[in-house]
Structure formats: C-alpha cells, structure tokens
Amino acid sequence: MAGIAVSTKINGDNAEFLCHPDETLLDVLRDRLGLMGVKEGCGTGDCGACSIILDDRLVCSCLVLGAEAEGGRIETVEGMAQGDQLHPLQQKFLEHAALQCGICTPGFLMAAKDLLAKNPDPTEEEIRFGLAGNLCRCTGYDKIVRAVQDAAGVMRGA
C-alpha cells in the first residue's frame, strides 16, 4: 500500500507527511506527527476528544482522512498558547477547574475557541449547545461553561 504525500499547515507551520489511504487525520497527528494533545475517545465522532479546527471549521479528526487534509490549515491544542502565554480559554479553564482528568480538555478548548470565534458573546444555552459535541464525564460541565463565559468576557475586552 503506497503512502500518499500530503502537505498541510499545522499551527502555523508547514507540515508534510505520508499516510495510508485509510489512515485518519487523528492517527496521522498522533502517530506520525507526535501531536498527542489530540485525543481519541471513541474513533467514531461521538465524543469530540479529537476535535481540531480544519480550515476554520471545528471537526473530529477521527472523521477526516489524513489524505483529505491536503492543502489544509490545521489548528490543534498545541497551537493555542503563544509561547508561554496561555490563551484566555486555557487560563480560564485552569482558574475555574474546568477539568478533572483532563482527557476531554483539548477537544473542549478547540470547540470553545471555534464557538467564540463565531459568537463572541454567547448565552449559557448557546455555550451548552455549542459544546454538545464534546463529552466530559468528570465535571458535569458546570465549571466548563463558567470558564468559557469568563474567557469570552476577557476576549471581548481584549
């Protein structure tokens, strides 16, 4: 099975890789490119742990083939902080203890980033529906929603 050559931009840097035709972008990011912040919780698009932003759209990287990323712009949790400066969402997740085990956190951060990019001042309900594609089993979502509300305020002010 021949590898397919794919060129992408990941977190602002050019990234080229070879992948199999049936290899998911999730597997490519984790196993070929070492971006372990992208998590696999189900592999079928039902948990959101592998959420990334591909060409300005929030997607489950388990539901995208590596080959489909050709020419694409990919954002993962690893690209959120600027140097040692955390993104406001990351900072607020820490302050509000919006994570316990933390496995869902990278996916939630991506989903929240996408949500706030499209809706900078969401209501609680809009946040809840906007994050409904991401499962968290530890927090009951309460502190996640509060962290996103708080971060949205900071980002609007900034």
């Binding site: 992208v38 690893e78 955390l86 509000h96 496995i103």
Partner: protein, 750 residues
C-alpha cells in the same frame, strides 16, 4: 499511626484555598501524557480477538494462519497463560476474564490476541484466527438468571452464605444478610407500609479515555508497564501473579488517567500486553477501542430490588426490609452485599433487614463504579421512603429528618456511628432556596439522601526537600481528579511554606512502597494522612539540622510557619532559620532532608449527601429535562474546595445520566447492541443545568484535618432524586431506571 485530631481548634493557611493545580498547564496545552500517549522504540501493536457469543464452549482455536502472516510477532491464547493463581479464586476469575480458558462467557470475552508490526497487520491477523465455538444457552437479565431454571453459567458455583449448603449449583454465588431487630414484628406494628420492586439497568463508568498500556518485557524477566490505572501497585501485583513474575522486576508507571470512576481498578488487557511482549521479545502497545471498552471492561451491576418499609402514624419508621439482586457478570462477586450494607444506612432503624444475592449473568465482569452498588439501593429505598412520607402525610424532608441516623445510632449495616452529616445535609436542604422555588406545569421536584463508607488503606508517601528548599512530594495514589493539588496544599500547610514551593508527582511502583488504589474515595483522605506524617517526620529532621546549625539542643527548636525557631532565654534572640536556609546547609549537617510515611490509613469518615432535583416532563413524549439541581454533602474538611465541588457536580451528572438514559441494551442473541457513545447516552453539555453545590464540614475525628472522602457519595442520591422528581411530575411512581422517554411515556399511558 496516631495523629492528634486537633482539627476542631485549628485554622488553616493553605488548606481550604483554591490554587491552580500543578498538572493544569500540561492538561490545557496537550503536554500531559495519558495511557495511549506513550511509545517505545520497536513497539508492536497488540489487538484482542473477542467472542461474538454470549455463552459458548471454545472447542478449538487455530492460530496457525495468523502466526504465518508476515509482520505478526506473537499470537496468544489461554494456553500461553498457565494458571498460576494457586487456588486464589478471585485471581483465577481475573485470569479467565483476561483470556477465556474453556468457555466464552459474554459477548466481548477475549479469546486470543496478536502483536504485529502495525495496526493493519494486527487487524488482519485477528481475522485469520479460527475459533470453533459450541453455543450454549445464555442469560443476560438478572431476574431471569436468578430463576431456578435459568441456563447455568458456571457449574462450580454453589451459593455461599446459606445453611445448609445447597446441593446443586446455581447462578447465585452468594447470599448476604445485614440488619438488627425483629423486622416482621416491627412491620406488624406499622400503620403504613410501602412495598415495591425496583429495577435498574447496567451502566458503564463511561470514562472518555479507553484502556491503554505499553508493555515491555526483557529476556532477563525485567519488565515495564506504562498504563492508565487507578492503582498501579495493584496492577503490578495482579500482572506479576498472573504471569509468574517477581513484583520487583515489574515497574509500573501510571500515566495521566482519563477518567476511571472504578473501571480502572481492575486489570483487563494489561496481562495480555505483557504476555504478548514476553512472547514477541518487543514492547507491545495495546489500546482498547471504544467498542471494546463497553463490551469487555467492567460495567456496574444491573439490579432488581424489593423494598418494604413500615411507619407509625407519628412518622417513625418502625421496620425496613429489602432484598437485593445484583448482577456480577459471569463470575462470583460481592456487589449485592455492598448494596445490602448501604441501603438503609441513612436512617435510624429499630428493625432492619437486608438480604443480597450475587447473580451471575452472561455480561462483562462487573467492576466498581463510584460508590459501587449504593446508588441502586438508594434509588429503591429513597423512592419507597418518599412514597411512605406521602402516606404518612409528612413532607419528604421532614420525614427523613425525623428518621435520620445521628451520632450514636446503630447503622443498618452494624456499627454505631460517630459524628455524621446526614442530619445537617437534610437541614441544609430544608432551608435551601431551591426547595422553596415555585414549580411550573409538568414540573416536579424530588430529593433524596445517599451514603458511602469511604476507605483508607495502605499508603506510602515520600517528601523530599531539595537543596533550594523546595519540596517534591512523591505520592503513590493515582491522581484522578486534582489530588496532587490537594496534597501539595497539605504539605505546604504542615511545613508552613507556600503552595508554589511544593510539587507533587505520582511515583512509579519501583520508587515508592505499596499503595492501594485510588478507590473508595480514599485518595485525598489517605494520602493527605501520609503526607502530614511525612511532613512531620521531615520537620523533625529540619529541627535537628537547625539545632546543629545553631549548636543548641534540639528540644529548644520549634517549627513555626516554615521556620525553625530557637526558644528559651539562652537562644531566644537567635534569628529564625527558614526551610530554605536549613536545606542549603543540608550537605554539611547530615545530608539530604526527607520525610517518609508508610501507613494504613484507618478511620475514614462515612459521608452523606442530600440532593434536590427539579424536572420537567413532556407529557406527550416522555422526555425529561433537568431544570435545576442542588448537591449538599459533608466533606469533613474540603482541602481544595473547587475540586470538592467538581466531585459533587461530576457525581451528580453521572447519576442523572444513569437515572434518565444510560443503559446496556442486550439483544435476544445476548449481544450488546449499544457499545458506543452514540447509543450509550451519557449526558451532553446541553442536557444539564448548572449544578449547585453546598459543602458542609463535619470533621472526621480520625483525620488530623477532619477530611472524609468526597469522590463517591455524590453519585448515590441522584437516581432516587431524579426518580422522585419525575414521579412527582407525572404522578406515577417510577420503578425502572433508566427512566428513558419510552419508559416514562409507557408509565403515563398505563
């Protein structure tokens, strides 16, 4: 270990604050490494072949074609795992569950495994393994399995706990009984009696991280295992025993853990990964798929519970009786026993009796799930209590307050309670604004109480002081939800230094003495006890070193707020020495400074919670929406209140999911039909409201700071609180959980 319980007088400087957790930045930046985030050079991919049948004799397994496939480095069946369990029945069951020996006992039971150079080769190899099954009759329902004519799952199981011993095998592995007084006489005096049967379906802990490990066994017999687990020392013990290894030669490192809730207290595929690595001579990475997690890790029991409670006209419960049947999977268990112990633990009862039956079924081996067995018993009992309160004509909160256990009450499971929090949680609920808020059409409010024991157990902690005076805390209880922050706070509190000067890590099994698992809400309770003891031991050394530095007797040195202070008229004017100064001089005063602690942390404090839930039911579709939810729970002492709240909220959310939609659904063929997050419906963000919390602090007299466990109790009341709310909204008593829309609609239309 005796620690003076001086909590009541004590004020805290670090404990009770809410700093950012030490592992936080790693977890928001993607740096934290979980079970599947680790690789070794030359690593192979392990995969497991699983039975598609609920119950079948394994006639023959032909692995020759798989073994010949290029890229396959090892193929494994039960024949490669000789029985080294030496008559230890529980370990034998674990061995058989890791790889079926004679029979496949459930859909998903492992029958063979391969290790290959990549995932696609491994997948292909599985298809080449030929298994000849002889199908046997199966039973997946707890009541059907309990029936005398049910298909027999294990012909060596004779019910224990009955006299005389039964003369034929059955699916009931054990009967257990608790209680005191004369239930029948008490019931005869009752003015009001409620008698009902309840049923709950099987649920899964639903941690988002599938089981994952990397195993590497060298030809010299030394081995490493990287794994997501709630107890790496226990995993080491199990793996070493099953594989005939010396425990000291197997180093187990616990990765960050992506949720466990009891499901990662048990080995599933780890011994298989080690055996594959041993056979292949290369490291093996084995990650379960989500489908495998549902089919072949350990869900909780399905239950069927009869409850009968009698009350006098004045509202006193005069007798309480329950029979509890819990499914255990295809092996003997002790789940109904725990249900029988917890069922009536909230109440002060003169006459109480509970009987538990452990029932074998063709489903995965039951594992613990957060306060295991207690939520189902609480659902049955708290539903009946609510109904009884109505019959007596009392408010459900007042009825419970009247009958609540208190200090000195003989618990329904036996011993006499010390200071406990059930009364205060009920009083707090009675006065909570939530209870007074108006309800709209089709809305109902329910409340319920819950109990959990909490544990202590074996614990070992090292506290090492660096030359710069900062502190490394090596802990052996896995951090499942923020305990590194709590334990750093405790170390800072004892040493009198700032939280930022302490870093807690989870040490591997070769770096620290044995620790029990993080289960039973014991993580912060027991490791904080060990941390306090380690810190006090370190302080003793710090005082000795300061005495040396000053050249005065150690008796004249005290430790205050992070400093050695010389006392007495002679030395009183000596400037105090900071921990940093003493640490810097350690090389000349006797070497490194450290405090160690090895304890059995006894004296865990029982904990109680009372929850309130508002529900709106759509009478046309049976859809139930949680509108408002409040948790009131006794923490003893909240070390890091934000993470205590997080435990309360998380437990409540899991309980709400269990109450409304989560369930294992088996087909007539005995196969699991919803082995995925699409059809096993854990709550999503838009399903839930904010979850209000109120932390009560009734100190545990057996802990120096008064800490009780907080992790589990919060999942006990929700099934009942939600059921009472739904029942009040629809005017029909709900007796079957989950109360999925079809069940609510059927109840409405009945």
């Amino acid at each position: 270990m005796n620690l003076d319980p001086s909590h009541s007088k004590r004020s805290f400087s670090s404990v009770g604050t809410r700093p950012i957790r030490p592992d936080g930045v790693d977890k928001v930046t993607g740096r934290a490494r979980y079970g599947a985030d680790f690789n070794m050079p030359g690593q192979l991919v392990g995969r497991i072949l699983r039975s598609p049948h609920a119950h079948a004799m394994i006639r023959k397994i032909d692995t020759s074609k798989a073994a010949q496939l290029p890229g396959v480095k090892a193929v494994l069946t039960a024949a490669d795992l000789p029985d080294l369990t030496n008559g230890d029945a529980a370990m034998y069951d674990i061995l058989d569950n890791c790889m079926a020996r004679k029979k496949a006992l459930y859909d998903g039971h492992a029958v063979a495994a391969v290790a290959a150079i990549d995932a696609r080769t491994a997948k292909q190899a599985l298809k080449l393994i030929e298994v000849e099954y002889e199908l046997l009759p199966h039973v997946t329902d707890v009541d059907q399995a309990f029936a005398p004519d049910a298909p027999l799952i294990n012909d060596t199981i004779f019910t224990t706990g009955v006299d005389p011993k039964p003369d034929c095998p059955s699916n009931v592995s054990m009967r257990s009984q608790f209680g005191h007084g004369d239930v029948d006489a008490g019931m005869a005096k009752a003015d009001f009696v409620v008698e009902r049967t309840f049923k709950t379906e099987q649920t899964h802990q639903g941690y988002i991280e599938p089981h994952a490990c990397v195993a590497s066994v060298g030809s010299d017999g030394t081995a490493d295992l990287w794994v997501c687990t709630q107890g790496h020392f226990v995993y080491r013990q199990h793996c070493a025993q099953l594989l005939g290894m010396d425990a000291s030669k197997l180093r187990v490192t616990s990765s960050e853990i992506g949720g466990g809730f009891g499901g990662k207290t048990h080995v599933w595929a780890e011994p298989v990964a080690l055996a594959l690595s041993r056979k292949a001579g290369r490291p093996v990475k084995l990650v379960m798929t989500r489908d495998e997690v549902f089919r072949a890790s350990g869900p909780t029991s399905a239950t069927s519970i009869d409850v009968k409670i009698g009350a006098l006209r004045d509202g006193t419960i005069i007798a309480a009786d329950a029979t509890l049947r819990y499914s255990c999977g295809p092996y003997a268990g002790a789940w109904a026993e725990v249900g029988a112990m917890t069922a009536f633990a909230c109440y002060k009862l003169e006459n109480v009796r509970t009987v538990g039956y452990e029932v074998l079924v063709n489903r995965p081996k039951t594992a613990a799930y957060r306060a295991p067995s207690a939520p189902m018993a609480a659902f049955a009992v708290e539903s009946a209590i609510d109904e009884l309160a109505k019959k007596v004509g009392m408010d459900p909160v007042d009825f419970r307050i009247r009958n609540a256990a208190q200090e000195g009450t003989k618990a329904s499971y036996g011993p006499v309670y010390g200071p406990i929090g059930i009364g205060p949680t009920l009083e707090a609920v009675k006065n909570h604004p939530h209870m007074k808020a108006p309800l709209g059409k089709n809305q109902g409010r329910g409340m319920a109480c819950g109990f959990w024991f909490n544990f202590g157990g074996q614990t070992c902690t090292d506290l090492n002081i660096g030359m710069d005076g900062t502190v490394s805390l090596a802990v052996g209880t896995v951090d499942v939800g923020g305990s590194r922050a709590s334990l750093s706070l405790v170390a800072a509190e004892e040493l009198g230094i700032d939280y930022s000067q302490v870093r807690a890590v989870i040490a591997d099994t070769s770096s620290l003495g044995y620790n029990d698992m993080t289960d039973g809400s014991r993580g912060t309770f027991s490791s904080s006890m060990a941390t306090i003891s380690a810190a006090r031991n370190a302080i003793k050394i710090l005082r000795e070193r300061a005495a040396q530095m000053w050249d005065i007797p150690v008796e004249d040195v005290t430790w205050e707020k992070g400093h050695a202070v010389a006392k007495g008229e002679t030395h009183g004017n000596l400037p105090k020495l900071s921990l940093k100064e003493i640490a810097a001089a350690a090389g000349t005063t006797g070497g490194p400074i450290a405090g160690h602690s090895e304890i059995v942390a006894d004296g865990a404090g029982v904990s109680f919670a009372t929850h309130i839930c508002d529900i709106e039911v759509d009478p046309e579709t049976g859809a139930a929406k949680v509108l408002r939810y409040t948790v009131v729970q006794d923490a003893g002492k909240a070390v890091h209140p934000t993470y205590v709240e997080g435990q309360y909220q998380g437990g409540a959310a899991q309980g709400i999911g269990w109450a409304l939609n989560e369930e294992y659904i088996y087909g007539k063929d005995g196969r699991l039909q919803n082995a995925g997050f699409l059809d096993y419906r854990i709550p999503v963000c838009s399903d839930l409201p904010m979850i209000d919390t109120q932390i009560l602090e009734i100190p545990n007299p057996n802990h120096p700071y008064g800490v009780r466990g907080v992790g589990e109790t919060s999942i006990v009341p929700p099934l009942a609180a939600v059921a009472n709310a739904v029942s009040n909204a629809v005017g029909v008593r709900m007796q079957h959980i989950p109360m999925s829309p079809p069940r609510i609609l059927a109840a409405l239309d009945a």
